[in-house]
Symmetry: C2
DNA sequence: ACTAGATAGTTGCGAGCGCAACTGTCAACG
DNA sequence: CGTTGACAGTTGCGCTCGCAACTATCTAGT
């Protein structure tokens, strides 16, 4: 149970407050992970997310990236522009719907993808290994419950 | 276990990647919580954190806030300036050490603190209630393990 | 066909952030 | 004492972000 369990505000400690702890943890994990895609390839979080989202399908739209990553569409737009400029992805106008731009990885983009993904998975494994087996199970299950309750996966 | 468990990059799914999921979750939780301090008092996250950190002691320095919340000192500095301008905290130059500024809540600040903290705890309780009892226990324990492993509490 | 509203994506703008450099103060050491 | 380095806190600068507004395209209703 959380340690801020009483109502009396005089005992409130920010370091025991779960929303704060989640933010701080997510920040530290992101910072650690960013070493992989920033230091080696000069990519930032939005570009990394777009790259792997596009990479896990043959092609997709910016709209799909925004919806599945829950990033603001302008953030996606700028990441796509940056990746296009670096020739890691290609934008192809769609024939069926002239508003859409089909995104897909270039050869160089696929190469980066193939290098980054195993490294990222390795980092994730290292992170998860910091938890004891019993807690890890509860952690992943709880994560899923929270995501579902907050509507983060489907609407 | 995480669902991205194989090395083969072709099966990588961002939505199963724990660092991403943590970020997305922390973001959603923060957004939900910010309704309390933003919509009602026009405070942003940095101000909220400074307010409650100062409020949980009689007085403290900006340095202490930065260290205990792991916020950048400039972010703290600006939040302190903002709260001072709104007359929610006071800056008193320290006699023993002329570099420090002792921070403490004003009467108005204490009032805001007394209102906000119970509301925030209520939100936290609502959040935690979304997890089943068994998972909650593992979640909190795992959170602590991760924080310790990443050096987020003590150095 | 024409108009009205929805949708995909881009862009100008203001706000917030981190970095590096700065000011002012303290402590140590010759 | 005076100098040097550490430390508390602030500020200028450049960058990123989200919002709102925009363009271009599609869809539906008349």
């Amino acid at each position: 149970m959380a340690r801020n369990s009483t109502i009396t505000s005089s005992t409130f400690l920010l370091v025991n407050f779960v929303p704060f702890r989640l933010n701080r943890l997510a920040d530290a994990v992101s910072r650690d992970l960013s070493e992989i895609y920033r230091d080696r390839f000069g990519l930032e979080i939005p570009e990394w997310r777009v790259l792997v989202t596009v990479g896990q399908r043959r092609e997709c739209t910016a709209q799909h990236v925004a919806a599945s990553t829950r990033m603001h569409k302008t953030r996606v737009s700028r990441a796509v522009a940056s990746l296009t400029e670096r020739k890691l992805i290609e934008r192809v106008s769609c024939i069926e719907d002239g508003r859409e731009l089909r995104l897909c990885l270039t050869k160089a983009g696929k190469k980066v993808y193939e290098v980054l993904v195993p490294l990222a998975l390795e980092r994730e494994r290292t992170l998860l290994a910091k938890m004891s087996a019993g807690h890890l199970e509860g952690f992943i299950a709880a994560l899923l419950e929270l995501e579902d309750a907050l509507g983060l996966n489907g609407e």
